[in-house]
Point group: C2
């Protein structure tokens, strides 16, 4: 990062998926990493294995509340890693592992419900949990349940979040912010649950269709989870050394999501999604990709939302219809324990 | 398990590595698992991949205190999964992943020390952490730090904990109980730290030598972690449908371990080890295996501790020199958060 790392204690921002988290990771965890044989990616790694790549990713899930409109921590724990694999091009999931950390006194009936939802998400993704671990901490030593999941996938071609090229179209596969807004609404009992549902879903089936339709024209993939679209596109622009200009009018939102974001005063571009992907695609393949998306149940609201431009400085901008302004990632955590 | 699962709430015993944990896993997590292509193992899974097996295992680490004589949670998080892979015959580690769950306010200086120790253990194991995740929970929502690690290894031959055959010799690679006793001593500030050190170490190098020396004569491997030697051998006997008779006089213990277990009144056979393996070996290969163990720094105190016998009922027995008695696994947690 630009400034030396001076923080002495962990703060919520260090888990927020933004610049503070990347600074912590760069300063502490990646200070000594180098391996030319391995592609260290945005959300995982790709390891050469025979004539394919083995893709590996891991995620801990600490969402609060554990059950929220449209999903729960079990479904989230599967979709989170399946989607990270898919974003690297690995739509075939070889194996998942799941570590379960439980607070003493947690209800076994709730655990069964979480497991059933986990298995349902696995079926949707064509994935299986093949290894697990169970740990119990005392009352007050962990808040209810934490699930840590690792995914292993295979692919012949690795896609990178930083692969954007000038001229590319930027596509999002559906409406913005539904996960974060649904979790927040449930957490604060805002009574918005009626139509407002988390979008948490496994995207590997959808991305498989996108890769078939777009072929080598698919230059970059990333799922806008923590920090939302703003964080994901800022990181993509930074890595590719390009500018991205979004069209505000083109951003798809559900009616319930729009209402909730206005009521809560939260920018839907900065809120986590758990069933959406951002796609950087060569203009020649744009229409084929949009057609593939619209013919899939999870891509109905897909839209072409922006363009990639050559730029001396990486930047993310939004065209509001009255001019362009820059969007900046938030350093602090807007929504703790959103995933 | 023998009785239907009637517990309604999570208790410490459900994380203890014994019968209660296996009952929970069987009742909740494995109720719907079946896959003939995959070997679901004691501590992981083996997936056919080309002409090899991809071996996968996962572990969450919640040890308290985070630093203990001889190690810390970072070293433990690497050794735990590297050893589980080695016990399945996968001494070559393809990748590790690490999820870090931090309590707000945790010291970044301590995090750096934990990371340095993690990297040291990786170097000893010839392994690398290739993907990670960082989550932050609020104060009081998690106790300091939890590390969840997944390991991926490759092997041409998968070894099973349940592969014991009548006539096999049972070997342990070193002294009993040092990890559990060192953690307990540190937790209760017993001042025994002088000579009493956790044995936490990566065993893949040692097991590679054992497999070279013993070849197809190596029938079973298991590391006696939670629940100690009693839990590990009970499970091995159960799975193989055999009886195991241990010779009490042959059990190797460090002087500090023996003193601590007597002072604390804790059976060293029931205490966790984090750098030891139990080996079931055909008698024809026993001497070669013991020689290989004794010529490795981690196998100096290796000993032939028992024999496997055909039996109508699986059982673990100990010959005290004055007769034989049965050993039983503990259902409840003798030592919570030992790993």
């Amino acid at each position: 990062m630009k400034t030396p790392f001076a923080d002495q204690f962990i703060a919520a921002k260090h888990g927020a998926g933004g610049p503070a988290m990347r600074a912590l990771i760069g300063s502490v965890f990646l200070a000594d990493v180098e391996d030319s044989e391995v592609l260290a990616m945005d959300d995982g790694a790709a390891i050469p294995f025979g004539d394919q790549w083995l893709v590996v990713t891991t995620d801990a899930h600490v969402v609060h509340p554990v059950f929220f409109p449209g999903g729960d921590i079990g479904r989230l724990s599967v979709c989170g890693v399946v989607n990270d694999l898919a974003m690297m091009g690995a739509c075939d999931v070889l194996a998942l592992t799941s570590s379960v950390i439980l607070e003493e006194g947690f209800s076994i009936e709730l655990l069964r419900r979480i497991h059933a939802s986990t298995q349902q998400a696995c079926r949707e993704a064509g994935a299986k949990i093949l290894a697990g671990d169970t740990k119990v901490m005392g009352r007050g030593e962990v808040d209810q349940i934490v699930l840590s999941t690792t995914g292993i996938g295979v692919t012949r071609r690795v896609i990178r979040g930083g692969g954007l090229q000038p001229g590319d179209a930027v596509v999002i596969t559906g409406t913005l912010g539904d996960h974060g807004l649904a979790v927040l609404s449930a957490r604060h009992s805002l009574g918005l649950q009626g139509d407002l549902l988390s979008d948490v879903a496994p995207l590997n089936g959808l991305i498989r269709q996108v890769l078939l339709a777009g072929g080598a024209g698919i230059h970059a993939l990333k799922d806008p989870t923590r920090g939302g679209v703003t964080a994901a596109l800022s990181e993509m622009a930074e890595r590719a050394g390009v500018a991205i200009v979004l069209q505000q009018q083109a951003l798809p939102m559900s009616d319930a999501g729009r209402a909730a974001s206005e009521l809560l005063g939260i920018d839907p571009l900065s809120v986590a999604n758990e069933g959406k992907a951002l796609i950087g695609v060569h203009p020649d393949q744009l229409q084929a990709v949009l057609q593939a998306l619209h013919s899939h149940p999870l891509g109905q609201a897909a839209a072409h939302i922006g363009q990639v431009h050559a730029s001396e400085k990486p930047a993310l901008l939004i065209d509001t219809g009255f001019g362009q302004r820059r969007l900046f990632e938030k350093d602090a955590e807007p929504l703790p324990r959103i995933c």
